[in-house]
Amino acid sequence: MINDSCAGLYLHVPFCLSKCPYCDFYSHTDLSLIPQWIAALEKEVDLYKGRFSSFDTLYLGGGSPSRLSEDQIETLVEMIQSRFHFDSCSEITIEANPNDLNPAKLKKFRELDINRISLGVQSFDEKELLFLKRRHTVTDAEKTINWIREAGFKNIGIDLVYSLPGQAREQWLDNLNKALAFQPEHLSCYQLTIARGTLFWGMKKMGRLQPISEVDEEGFFLTTSKFLEDHGYIHYEISNFAREETYFSKHNQKYWQRRPYLGLGPSAHSFQGNRRWWNVRSVKKYCQALEEGRSPIEGQEELTEEQVRLEMISLGLRTRAGLDLSCLGEKQEMKKMLPRLVENGWMSISDNHLIPTLKGFLVADRLPLFFD
């Protein structure tokens, strides 16, 4: 067993009532498969017995984990907590849709030690919710947030999506103001990405959806960062903001900081040592494999030194914490572009770290190409 004291555990709940037109995470709409999936998951959990020493985060993501019944969630959480060791102060998050929650369900969450809710509000504008084909209204969302607070949750994250076709800057700021009214500890603001395999992708191809211009995207991004920082939030990752450092998503940081994590469920990804592996992207194949006593792993890779470095750079430069300069290694080649990157205002160097600026965040996908 590798001693990774601070591993994260991700559980992918691959079920949704309907697919959102922008989402490219794996999910299935046939909810009748849930019991079979839970049974398979139990077998997968057993495969990892003793493979990770302990965890300090648990993240129920999806899909729509909140769609599961109270009993099903209880089964899952207890199954995991009984098989794996968790630190006493672990962060336990569940992703939720506004109209999946009610006070009774939230009470159950508290009993299961779930201490963080990531709520997929997406927008506080009815028209935008319709465009995004969300199945809740603004009132549903507001009511739900109040219930979450009333249930005693001290760590709420609200997910919003912006840079929508035709969206005006004021409209978006109005959204942010409505979110701030609830003083969420955490905000994820994602610019709309039109990914292959989604409904929006098809609409764009057919000319029925016109994405906003790159110049507007730039403007929206800068406006968002400034507005939230003015309201006391820390812009700690490209799309993530938190009121205080303690509210940074402990689990998501594991991805960016290259800490070990175990992903359970169809399409989930895992990382330990220098190895990455991932499960099949199909509930049926996942269940079938486990029922036949086989592993549901579809692929894996052993990272080379060069790949490790590339990951460190690309992930590090997505966060405000930046990249420890020592990660670049000894080769001077790697550092020859640094003066230019700083000169152009994409990053700064402080305390032996390479820190991306806001301007750097905007082109974070290109920055790693400057190191070789």
Binding site: E217, E218, F221, S239, L310, L315, N344, V363, D372
Partner: protein
């Protein structure tokens, strides 16, 4: 004893040479149906992809004629494109006869004429063959008339065939044995063989393709290469039968290969004579005339560390493509490289592709140029094919550029279009005549520089593929030339400079700036692209900067996907040349070569 016939197939491009060669090979039973694939002699991927033959290839076909006599028929396949007429003439030097293939629908074309003259010059026996007689548009009577009037040959001697359908193949093989004379030469005279091709094999050294004129050679003989006196011990001789087939000896009249452990690439010269050390021939065979390159461009390694590797690759490449000439060159923007001379633009493209595919080189090619002459005020004359060495304009008294005399054959309905094209390309002295009704033979004096880029493509598209074209260099003529510089991000990229006629400079500059705007990927800063003559900017375009390039979500724990994308981008970057702060992809240098996109 077996009799020998050495022959070649010559034709205008697309008239079906490779298909006929395929049929002959099949008829001779060299391959069974199962192993067969089309264009079997075209071994290079690039030949198959483009459906053209670039290299002459040799194959020996065993054949027994109707009288029961046995033959070895040496077929030397040849390219059809105007750029490769040199390959054709080398192949012809090894033959006694040719099949002159003519498309039954298209009839006699410019290359048919040019190839026929080359064959006649070498006193070869001509067998006209009308191909594609199965086509609905075939007009055999008209083609026969053209054979009489255009070629001056007896149309009664023409054979009819459809290589595609396998019709008339036996008649062709019979005619080869009956009409083409057996090779002359004496077994008793000292050994002489003409090198007409060669290629390098890393294990066996140079593999020489040759035609033996006198005497014979065996494994164990000591050969001497007459141009430099180098001697080598013969390891193996044999025939080409799709693969190399070793033989005891190669003797007078035969075509085959010699392997003699020749590791010094430069020792083998195409056109050189091989003789024996023990009983040398008194004089070398009549070789081929040296080819003169007409288009020049430089080749640079994308990464300067690869200079040596490129140098080795060129040396080996040259063995197999005698038409390429090169010498060292250097550029401020691109570093150390080579200035190369080519037969034409297609040849240039082929060299580039083959260097990349067969020799694993990552290269950049600069804008091609012809050779210009500058008469300076001090009475001196300089010849310049590289814009880098363009003389100071203040010192130039007058300048000259090479002109060609183009022969263009087209259906008369396209006459207006083609005359416009020629005028636009500064064509002079038009002449036309109608060899047969409905067809025009148009002659023009054109600056070579206007022809090398895309004239042939243009001609083809303007005539729906029915136009054909051939040319010969005629003279240097006075011309008003200027040097056009291209600035990328305010830095002059010398590799993109070119010399143009003053009247065409602005149009060309605008075109190049627009082209580069499309070809250079957006970068992190705005990049102006300018065309300039001296200090004056005459054209400009701008590549906008990336405003935003970041994915909102990192796909949960799926870091692999993200990293693979980056790895792919990094790989793409390795194929770009850093010029100042700007990454210029190889495709940008190539794109400048092509003129109009329409």
């Amino acid at each position: 004893m077996k009799q020998i016939r050495n022959f070649s197939i010559i034709a205008h491009i697309d008239h079906g040479k490779s298909t006929l060669a395929d049929r002959l090979i099949q008829y001779a039973g060299l391959v069974d149906q199962r192993q067969f694939r089309d264009q079997i002699l075209d071994t290079m991927d690039i030949e198959r992809e483009r459906g053209i033959t670039i290299k002459s290839n040799t194959v020996t076909l065993p054949y027994t004629n109707k009288k029961g006599e046995e033959f070895d028929l040496n077929l030397i396949d040849t390219p059809g494109h105007v750029d490769f007429s040199y390959e054709v003439s080398r192949a012809l030097a090894s033959c006694e006869g040719v099949l002159l293939l003519i498309d039954a629908a298209q009839g006699v074309q410019a290359q048919t004429l040019a190839n026929m003259y080359a064959a006649v010059e070498q006193d070869l026996t001509l067998i006209p063959v009308i191909n594609k007689i199965d086509l609905p548009s075939a007009d055999i009577e008209r083609v026969k008339e053209e054979i009489e009037t255009d070629l001056g040959l007896d149309s009664e001697s023409a054979l009819l065939c459809s290589a595609k359908e396998g019709i008339g193949i036996e008649e062709i093989l019979e005619a080869i044995t009956e009409r083409i004379p057996s090779p002359k030469g004496s077994l008793d005279a000292p050994f002489t063989a003409l090198i007409f091709d060669a290629h390098y094999d890393p294990f066996r050294g140079t593999i020489i393709s040759c035609r033996v004129f006198n005497g014979s050679v065996h494994a164990g003989d000591m050969i001497r290469l007459m141009s430099n006196g180098a001697t080598y011990l013969v390891e193996e001789v044999g025939f080409f039968r799709l693969t190399r087939e070793p033989r005891k000896e190669l003797s007078a009249g035969e075509v085959g290969f010699i392997i003699a452990g020749i590791k010094t690439v430069s020792d083998t010269r195409i056109g050189d004579t091989i003789t024996l050390e023990t009983n040398p021939a008194p004089a070398p065979l009549h070789g081929f005339k040296e080819v003169k390159p007409v288009v020049f461009s430089s080749i640079y390694p994308i990464s300067s560390e690869d200079y040596q590797s490129l140098s080795d690759a060129l040396e080996k490449y040259k063995l197999n493509d005698a038409a390429l000439v090169y010498q060292k060159d250097s550029s401020a923007a691109l570093g150390q490289g080579f200035r190369c001379g080519y037969l034409g633009l297609l040849h240039l493209e082929i060299v580039q592709e083959r260097l990349e595919r067969e020799y694993n080189q990552s290269i950049i090619m600069t804008v091609p140029s012809v050779q210009y002459r500058y008469h300076l005020k001090d009475g001196e004359t300089v010849v310049v094919d590289n814009p880098q060495y363009y003389p100071d304009p203040m010192t130039i008294d007058s300048s000259e550029e090479p002109f060609i005399r183009a022969t263009i054959l087209i259906p008369d309905t396209y006459l207006g279009n083609i005359m416009n094209l020629c005028r636009e390309r500064r064509g002079l002295n038009p002449q036309m005549h109608y060899p047969t009704p409905g067809r025009v033979e148009l002659k023009y004096d054109l600056p070579l520089a206007e022809v090398i880029f895309d004239f042939y493509d243009k001609l083809k598209s303007l005539t729906r593929g029915y136009g054909s074209f051939d040319y010969e260099l005629i003279a240097y003529r006075e011309s008003d030339l200027v040097k056009l510089d291209i600035l990328v991000n305010s830095e002059k990229v010398d590799a993109l400079s070119l010399m143009v006629h003053r009247d065409r400079a602005r149009a060309r500059a605008v075109q190049i700036c627009d082209r580069l705007k499309d070809e250079i990927p957006r970068q992190m800063f705005k990049i102006p692209i300018q065309g300039a003559i001296g200090g004056a900017i005459i054209a400009r375009s701008t590549i906008s900067a990336f405003r935003k390039d970041v994915t909102a979500k990192c796909y949960g724990g799926d870091i692999t996907r993200k990293r693979k994308l980056l790895e792919k981008q990094k790989k793409g970057k390795q194929r770009m040349k850093m010029v100042g702060a700007v990454e210029i992809p190889q495709s940008a240098f190539v794109a400048v070569l092509k003129t109009d996109t329409d």
